[in-house]
């Protein structure tokens, strides 16, 4: 391990210390817009939950850089899998805000569009990491030029499935990128209790999966690391493990009270490393963004969220008959009977 193995392009203060990826101005500003949307999405979903208008929600405040940059470099044909903390990356990849509201709202159907190639976000930790390897193995078998990005948390890396996935990826060399959003906590369990090594990325070497560590609050560094990993994957060079070091500024979910366990000083220190502030400084230094533009952008994003929310809140209650319809392609007779009884009685027997 080198002294500072953490890949950065921008310092926490927003100064450039690495090679800025060669991206169009719109793309650079686009990343900012996504980050702003991530913050607004998270804040508003939390507020809606508090008002009883939304189900349990997992905020992503503090993780906006990683949440945007793990998805933004992907093409439409690429795949993205993740858990609840990756709900925003899904939006960047093409899942409508409305679908995410339905999912968090506990609605049915959730109807992710197929073309987004995002599997409805995962609750059972680390299971999706294996699905990602499987999709990537299928891509390799079909000789397609697609890559699979899969996100999971630092806690999830302790599960057997995560490690089995690394091993399969080492052996079969499919086009997959494992991106660990190390946000310092698994609910109340700090990273140092999760594993004895300093960096989760160190796990890769034992499975033959190249790995790297990036500053997860540096949107450009994550973007660049993902781009390189995707290029490697598409060139047939196999999997990459990326650890993005970031921090969960909010609660684990709306059901959690972090004051029970989170040291305030740690939280304060990370508030100083806000990924949005850092990147705004960069954009302003490059004169890609003015205060007025920023304000307009916030207004636009707020309006976009509100438009989706209006649609969500206008939805009729889910049709309970769907509960039966989505279990099998064709209902077996007993389920058909249960469905009919249900329709007849208004509730079911």
């Amino acid at each position: 391990m080198p002294d500072n193995p953490i890949y950065q392009i921008l310092t926490p203060a927003g100064d450039v210390i690495g090679d800025v990826p060669d991206l169009a101005d719109e793309t650079l500003v686009g990343l900012y817009r996504w980050m702003v949307m991530a913050r607004i999405f998270s804040d508003r979903m939390v507020a809606l939950q508090r008002q009883g208008r939304m189900g349990t929600f997992a905020p992503l405040n503090g993780q906006e850089a990683t949440c945007v940059a793990m998805a933004a470099p992907l093409e439409e044909k690429d795949w993205l899998l993740g858990s609840y903390r990756e709900s925003f990356p899904y939006i960047v990849k093409g899942v409508p805000l409305l679908s995410q509201m339905k999912h968090w709202g506990g609605h049915l159907p959730v109807d992710y569009p197929y073309e987004a190639r995002c599997i409805p976000f995962q609750i059972v930790l680390a299971t999706q990491v294996l699905h990602a390897v499987g999709i990537a193995m299928a891509i390799k078998y079909k000789k397609e030029k697609q890559v699979v990005m899969v996100g999971c948390g630092d806690g999830a890396t302790s599960e057997g499935d995560f490690n089995e996935a690394l091993n399969f990826a080492g052996v079969f060399k499919p086009p997959v990128i494992f991106l660990v959003q190390n946000n310092g906590w698994a609910i109340s369990v700090p990273r140092k209790i999760q594993t004895a090594v300093e960096y989760i990325a160190q796990r890769g070497a034992g499975f033959g999966v190249p790995s790297r560590i990036v500053d997860g609050n540096d949107v450009l560094a994550v973007y660049q690391a993902v781009t390189e990993a995707a290029d490697r994957a598409k060139a047939g060079e196999g999997a990459t493990l990326i650890e993005a070091i970031t921090y969960r500024l909010g609660a684990h979910t709306t059901a959690d009270d972090p004051t029970k366990y989170q040291p305030p000083a740690e939280l304060d220190a990370w508030r100083q490393r806000d990924p949005i502030t850092r990147y705004r400084k960069f954009l302003m230094d490059r004169t890609l963004l003015t205060d007025a533009q920023d304000e307009q952008l916030h207004d636009d994003v707020n309006a976009e969220f509100q438009a989706a929310l209006d649609l969500y809140e206008a939805l009729p209650p889910p049709n309970p008959a769907h509960q039966f319809d989505y279990t099998y392609a064709e209902l077996p007779p007993q389920l058909q009977r249960q469905r009919e009884e249900f329709l007849e009685l208004g509730s079911w027997r």
């Binding site: 506990g106 806690g155 609910i187 369990v189 309970p320 389920l335 509730s347």
Partner: protein, 326 residues
């Protein structure tokens, strides 16, 4: 006597066990400083120290597998799995290891451990938190499965579970955690595992339920009794494995009519076994087919549909009327 919620009653039982036996350890995900995601272990780490009450890395198979090792060594581990469906990742350790240590070693090594897990539907968490697992572990031989329906029962049964020389899966229904308070003695007491409880005696029909469905059954019984005057007996199983066949058979032998209620999907559920027990032991007393009021044969519903599919007093009452038809 204090009036406690189920969370308080369980917390108190754990504290008593930690106090009286230095071989009792409590561990799992978030049970330490956070006191558990439902606060069931609140304050225990502070009181008993990090060696007795501790957080583990996020790996259910490891939690159960290491708990088994500790039990083999002679400790009395009480491991928490954060939600009942997360027993799936440790299904292998439970079904092939925890349950078989006694058999495999012919009693030389044993597995006196308790796996606690919040369970059940009705609190609208995200997907995959509310699967019912009791029927699965009922079929896996070598482990006891306990599902209390009240704070008082929870405490007494948990003490008995920790006392037990064999492994116990202790499922705590989330909806009951704070829904009501009850007088709970502060001192230690046990309630026997494997014994059902006739919560409400009656003569004409037996309703069998467990965990959160006991209150649903009681509400239905009251509804029916008030409306029709029929006398309804309600049995709380308390233990799913071993099943208290005698209490079931005695009751149905008397009433000749039965309704079984659970949240779990119907096919292959606990109700099927209860019907088989009735078939084996008191078929000739049975006047009508036993009714099953259960979840549908689908995945557990999305939050917005929970209420539609978890059995309600109305559905149970309807089933009671059906079996009461002459």
């Amino acid at each position: 006597m204090p009036k406690w919620t189920m969370v308080q009653a369980i917390n108190n039982a754990l504290a008593i066990e930690l106090e009286r036996n230095p071989d009792v350890l409590v561990f799992g995900e978030d049970v330490g400083q956070n006191g558990g995601v439902f606060r069931v272990t609140d304050g225990l780490q502070e009181r008993f120290g990090e060696a007795r009450v501790f957080d583990t890395p996020l790996a259910e198979s490891a939690i159960v597998g290491t708990a088994l090792g500790m039990a083999i060594y002679g400790l009395r581990p009480v491991a928490e799995i954060q939600f009942a469906p997360f027993t799936y990742p440790c299904f292998n350790q439970i079904a092939t290891q925890v349950t078989r240590m006694r058999y495999r070693s012919c009693g030389v090594y044993t597995a006196p451990l308790v796996i606690r897990a919040p369970c059940g539907g009705g609190v609208r968490p995200p997907e995959m938190h509310s699967d019912s697992v009791e029927a699965l572990f009922m079929h896996v031989q070598g482990i006891k499965v306990v599902m209390p329906s009240t704070p008082y029962d929870a405490k007494g049964l948990l003490h008995a579970a920790i006392d037990d020389p064999d492994p116990v899966l202790f499922l705590e229904h989330m909806k009951l955690y704070r829904s009501f308070r009850q007088d709970v003695p502060e001192d230690r007491y046990t309630l026997p595992l494997g014994q059902a409880h006739v919560v409400k005696p009656g003569r004409e029909v037996t309703v069998i339920a467990y965990a959160a469905m006991v209150n649903v059954a009681l509400a239905a019984a009251q509804q029916v009794e008030q409306a029709s005057g029929a006398s309804v007996e309600v049995i709380d199983l308390r233990s799913i494995a071993p099943l208290d066949e005698e209490t079931i058979a005695t009751s149905v032998g008397k009433t000749g009519r039965a309704v079984v209620v659970h949240e779990a999907p119907r096919t292959g559920g606990v109700a099927a076994e209860i019907i088989a027990v009735i078939n084996d032991q008191c078929l000739y007393s049975l006047l009508k087919p036993v009714e099953r009021v259960t979840g549908p044969d689908t995945p557990f519903p999305m939050p917005k549909l929970e209420d539609t599919f978890i059995p309600t007093p109305e559905r149970v009452a309807r089933a009671i009327y059906r079996v009461l038809e002459p």
